[in-house]
């Protein structure tokens, strides 16, 4: 799935300028991750941005005891990883594939350098990160409501 297809599928990218999308496509690489393979680990440098092209990944966290807990899964068309955009540029969660998955990945340093030269790209990516952050906050609030337990 290329970024233009992702734009059709995911409204989050719908307002992105053609030039921004083309830049992202020029630095995109596809990676395959097998089921249970770790994409990134909590508290390590957040130097990449990912989009799920195919499959599903989970954002997980673990304490000193007990198995990791999944707070959210992200499927096709989802943006994975927001921490590359903001200091301290370290992952806040561990990301693991829950099925064999294909991810499109982008070098965050390359993006941030380009953003310094291209205000449109900078604005577009802030827009994407802000929208995604807002959407996830909204969704997590709904999870916290425990609506199914109160029926």
């Amino acid at each position: 799935m290329n970024l233009h297809e992702i734009r059709q599928q995911n409204p989050m990218f719908s307002d992105m300028a053609e030039s921004s999308l083309s830049f992202l496509e020029s630095i995109a690489h596809d990676v395959l991750v097998a089921r249970d393979e770790t994409v990134f680990r909590v508290n390590t440098p957040a130097d990449r941005l990912y989009i799920v092209s195919n499959g599903t990944v989970a954002l997980r966290i673990a304490g000193p005891s007990g198995p990791p807990v999944t707070i959210q899964t992200l499927g096709e068309g989802s943006l994975v990883g927001l921490s590359w955009r903001l200091a301290p540029y370290r992952w806040q969660w561990t990301c693991q594939a829950i099925v064999d998955s294909e991810l499109t990945t982008f070098d965050a340093n390359e993006i941030l350098s380009a953003c310094e030269q291209d205000p449109q790209l900078d604005a577009d990516l802030w827009q994407v990160v802000a929208r995604e952050s807002s959407r996830r906050l909204h969704n997590v609030r709904l999870q916290l409501l425990d609506v199914y337990g109160r029926e």
Partner: protein, 283 residues
Amino acid sequence: MALLIQAPTAEPMLPRSFRVTDRVVETADTFTLDLAPSHDGPPLPFTPGQFTMAYAHGVGEVPLSITGDPATPGILTHTIRAVGGVTKALAELQVGDVVGIRGPYGVGWPMDRTVGSDVLIVAGGIGLAPLRPAIKTVLANRDSHRSVSIVYGSRTPDDLLYQDDLHAWKSRFDANVQVTVDRDAPDWTGDVGVVTPLINRLSFEPDTTIAILCGPEIMMRVVAEDLRSRGISPLDIYVSLERNMKCAVGFCGHCQFGSAFLCKDGPVVPYATVADRLATEQL
């Protein structure tokens, strides 16, 4: 029990006698009863989305969604969460016990409108139960529909209803079935999170889609607004609402929701007609 009559009646407040023929435990607090008319009484035809009033002898009466297959009206199926006095009394029933039934009542899902359409079914929690007859009808007539998508969200994996049905539906190649839970569990390998992101995985044309939703009202409102943002008309989105149904025939007014009596004008209504009221606090 002797007061219960054995044949259909024009008197809407008199229950008929039904006998429990099967009892299945679905989750820790939810169970399914199959009922058959006592003394070979006539069956109770229904349309998907309708409900009955079930009387637990000596305890009281509650509205229950019909959750079985409309193609087999001889079996009246109810899936019940034991949360109050009456439903806890119903939970005690065993095969052979008798329960009083009135109905069926209400306006069900718009099954005629699903024909020739992309069908999007979104369920939350026990909301899968009233949708089950619609799902069975759509899948039994699969060729009469365009795409068929089912999205189901639950609290935990242990709270998922109809696990055999879910497995069968997921194994079909002609339906897209997505399941998610709010809370992870050690042996759960599926999705975690709310239902709305799963809609990204579905294929449908907004102009030809009929969406039917059932679950907590907050969930239905969020999903309906998400679908509206994707281009589906609020007139093509249907929700099932619950209020305090007592008479079930539009006399008592306990289930009034704005200008509608949900027992006879609902429980299924177009989202367009209730969108504002669903966002009103304490209504």
